[in-house]
Amino acid sequence: MLTVAAWISGILLGLATVLVIVRIMRGPSILERAIAMDVLLAIIIAALCIDMAVAGHTDHLAFVVLACVLGFIGSVTISRYVTDRRNS
């Protein structure tokens, strides 16, 4: 049962990754790319959690905590330095 669930969620996450990468390539502004990178990081966290749940270990736990902080710092830093150059 767990292997079937892992396959289904793996396929869903793979499709989600493709869609997010299309948005990162296409995204009209850098802010869209920042949000899409956040979603990509959430997908990576999801894959780590699925691996932990199926294999029954807790090796990736530190990286899950770290990735939450990393996404926050990344998007805040990017949006801090986005300015409107059309006015200046």
């Binding site: 948005r23 699925i50 932990m52 905590v65 409107d84």
Partner: protein, 119 residues
């Protein structure tokens, strides 16, 4: 018996949690502008992460990991609104929003009043 119930609950958590990521990616691709894309992007960050961490907690089955899982989820819960606020603020300032789709723009009056005072 309990093993099977635990496995079924874990499987449901895994599939629904990754469905959240898929829904967010679909919303990122299909929604028209920055603000609605941000609405889609927060689904896997909060609810999806909660479901997947619940699956991890069910399968490892030890109380020692539960505080770390709760810490990871609370961290995401606290930081997701802050980063969304920063991104939407930058999006508003750089006019990456479609004015026709807004019902009401309360920030417009505040920004206008502030720029009047500065002048």
């Amino acid at each position: 018996m309990w093993e099977m119930i635990r496995d079924i609950a874990t499987a449901i958590c895994l599939v629904v949690g990754s469905l959240m990521s898929f829904a967010a990616a679909l919303g990122m691709l299909r929604f028209p502008d920055l603000l609605s894309r941000m609405h889609a992007a927060t689904k896997p960050q909060v609810l999806g992460l909660l479901l997947l961490l619940m699956a991890v907690a069910l399968q490892t089955g030890s109380w020692a990991t539960v505080p770390i899982l709760i810490f990871a989820w609370l961290l995401q819960l606290v930081t997701a609104p802050v980063s969304a606020h920063m991104v939407s603020r930058a999006g508003y300032r750089t006019r990456h929003l479609n004015r026709e789709t807004l019902e009401r723009d309360e920030l417009d009056a505040v920004v206008a009043a502030h720029s009047d005072r500065e002048d």
